[in-house]
């Protein structure tokens, strides 16, 4: 009877093993792979994907799905770029506005899903088209940012020096802070318990008297907020806004969530797993860059195979634990 309890952590363990295995394989194969700079870049370069994946984790834990992530990231980046450059809005105000718009956008999608009982798949699909199109309406091309706040404050002053050559980028800091906050929300607040309950069984959650409607709308608002924050970090990272960027980012985010051991049917999973999933995707990319003679499309194939393996693993575990219980 001990196995079912431990089986909750088994996918997480498998993800950690894959992450460690990939990292060790990289260190053995390439000379400079173990350097601090590679590790720091791994976190910094994948900051926006990580934050987007954290948002996707909440939605998937609740048994839903959000396809609008990539489009909202692109929309946020062009909104900030346009506000700061064309309308000379204070950068901080522009960022705050973008975060509010993203959250409201998510809340609107959540309301449609909750009150009209529409499938999340279709509503967030419409959201994806809408955000992408409105992004192009704001500014039809990529838009560079010349503002000092983006060029100097964020990229230089806000990065933390680790030693005299390597410093930790602000995009990475955002990722780490967001991860800590999200873990707190998921595991130590009432709202977090509601999310797990909702994903486990919505009917039971309702019968238990949990505020299902409020929770559901809040989850999508949270996902919208995370996507917008990912957009802000993306803007920091590229120092420009681009309405055509991040096409298919939601797929990478969902892949990271699945590799991280979260069940797509909802109710089971950990944010730490998602973060490891993001780092695994980043490590594959780094390995392919180091190798040099492999093409970047291998990233997608390897990512697809990993998703497959982890789904298989989850199936084996869930059927094994069912057999033990039954």
């Amino acid at each position: 009877m001990k196995f079912p309890l431990a089986s909750r952590y088994l996918p997480l363990l498998a993800t950690a093993l894959v992450l460690a295995g990939l990292y060790v394989a990289g260190c053995v194969s390439f000379d400079n792979f173990s350097s601090l700079r590679v590790a720091v870049n791994l976190i910094g370069d994948n900051g926006f994907l990580g934050i987007a994946a954290i948002g996707a984790t909440f939605v998937i834990l609740s048994g839903g799905i959000d396809l609008s992530v990539g489009a909202v990231v692109a929309f946020t980046s062009i909104l900030i770029a346009s506000l700061v450059e064309d309308h000379s809005v204070n950068p901080l105000a522009a960022i705050a506005a973008a975060l509010i718009v993203g959250s409201l956008f998510g809340a609107a999608m959540g309301s449609l899903i909750q009150w009209f009982e529409l499938p999340p798949f279709l509503v967030t699909l419409a959201g994806m088209f809408l955000a992408r199109g409105v992004g192009f309406m704001i500014h039809p091309q990529s838009h560079g940012i010349q503002n000092d706040f983006f060029l100097q404050t964020v990229s230089e002053r806000l990065s933390l020096p680790l030693n005299n050559r390597v410093s930790f980028p602000f995009t990475g800091t955002c990722f780490v802070v967001m991860f800590v906050l999200a873990t707190f929300v998921a595991h130590y607040t009432r709202f977090g318990r509601y999310i797990y309950a909702l994903g486990g069984d919505e009917q039971s959650a309702r019968l238990m008297g949990l505020p299902v409607a409020r929770t559901k709308v809040l989850i999508y608002a949270l996902s919208g907020f995370c996507s917008a924050l990912a957009g802000v970090v993306y803007t920091f990272y590229t120092q420009s806004g681009d309405p055509a960027s991040c096409v298919g980012l939601e797929l990478d985010a969902i892949a990271a969530v699945v590799i991280g051991g979260t069940l797509l049917s909802g109710g089971v999973g950990f944010l730490a797993g998602t973060v490891m999933g993001v780092l695994i995707l980043g490590l594959i990319q780094t390995l392919i860059t180091f190798k040099g003679d492999l093409n970047s499309w291998w990233t997608r194939i390897v990512a697809g195979m990993l998703v497959f393996l982890f789904i298989l693993l989850q199936n084996v575990i869930s059927s094994a634990s069912k057999r033990l219980r039954g």
Partner: protein, 338 residues
């Protein structure tokens, strides 16, 4: 009793078409009034030309995809990989034509076999391993474009072989060939599902899997079949897409077309939760999307902004189909009537 039920079913079949057809009619009415030259048809070199023919021609890819997608959605699933399978099919065909001397039927045969193999993969995952359809087909959606890139070596392969370009650009009896292809496929699919028990099996699996299993329907086999069929349809659509532009572009072939196909099916009246399905409705849905797109191009709306009206169309259609909204509306009407 039997005839009464039969009539009831007939009435239902037509009533399901009311919403998509009236949507399309509204759109066409708008074009009739406000878009110049929308209904102009002319005959050049014995071929029919005009905006309406273009809509049929360009809509044929989504129509082909929507046929397979309708059956998949009817079982309560979804196939996200059709766009990637299109890219793979185009890549295989272009590669075979350019690097080998095999005859044209072999090229088509191998391409469709690869597409069917992709469908088998999805079918195995959903049917045998019982993985959720969204996740199972997500694997091929993520990896499929990588596989297509591998086949084309990351290049855009162009070809000039006349037979292969005919599939997307040729004319038969005055109409473009893709129109005939999708029309023919609609006929075959309709015969396959409505004149045999297959359609009933698919609807029963989508409606209530447990009940249909107890009734003796092998739900795994039915599910396997619909994904294989969807792969086959995606293969055909991939051939048309590659042939249209005379090259295999693994990055862009069929990109986001899976979403259009799903949308077409939903507009056509098939519920995403599975059960009863409407093939003709899905075709009307595909034409609705294509008409919307063409209208926007003709009214000089930039292709980048085009998703906005599309999104609004999805929302309106979803709201109209939502049981909650429908009961509210009928409640309002009843109150007024009484």
């Amino acid at each position: 009793m039997a005839t009464e039920r039969f009539e009831k079913k007939q009435a239902r079949w037509w009533s399901s078409l009311v919403w998509p057809v009236s949507g399309l009619a509204l759109l066409l009415l708008f074009d009739l009034c406000f878009t110049d030259g929308f209904f102009k048809l002319e005959v050049r070199d014995g071929h029919l030309y005009g905006v309406l023919i273009d809509i049929l021609n360009h809509g044929s890819k989504v129509m082909l995809l929507a046929l397979g997608m309708t059956l998949v959605i009817a079982t309560g699933g979804v196939d996200l990989s059709v766009g990637a399978v299109m890219a793979i099919a185009g890549a295989v065909a272009a590669r075979l034509i350019n690097t080998t001397n095999v005859s044209f039927p072999v090229v088509i045969g191998v391409t469709l076999a690869v597409a069917i193999a992709a469908g088998c993969w999805n079918g195995l995952l959903v049917g045998a391993f019982r993985i959720q359809p969204i996740v199972a087909t997500l694997i091929l959606m993520v990896a499929g474009r990588g596989v297509a890139m591998l086949i084309t070596d990351g290049q855009i392969i162009t070809f000039t072989e006349p037979w292969l370009t005919y599939i997307g650009n040729g004319h038969l009896l005055g109409l473009p060939f893709p129109v005939w292809l999708s029309g023919g496929m609609l006929l075959i699919t309709a015969l396959l599902t409505r004149r045999t028990a297959l359609g009933l099996f698919i609807e029963s699996v989508g409606d209530n899997q447990t009940a249909s299993t107890y009734a003796g329907v092998n739900s795994s086999t039915v599910k396997f079949f619909v994904y294989v069929f969807s792969g086959f349809c995606a293969g055909l659509a991939g051939l048309v897409a590659a042939s249209n532009i005379k090259c295999a572009d693994s990055n862009h072939a069929g990109l986001f077309l899976e979403l259009d196909a799903i949308l077409a099916v939903v507009v056509g009246g098939t519920l995403l939760t599975g059960g009863r399905f409407y093939l003709v409705g899905a075709m009307v849905g595909a034409l609705f999307i294509q008409t919307l797109t063409t209208t926007m191009y003709m009214r000089n709306v930039s292709a980048d902004i085009a998703p906005v009206p599309k999104a609004l169309a999805i929302l309106v259609v979803c709201l109209l189909q939502s049981p909650k909204v429908r009961t509210k509306f009928s409640g309002l009407l009843k109150r007024r009537g009484s």
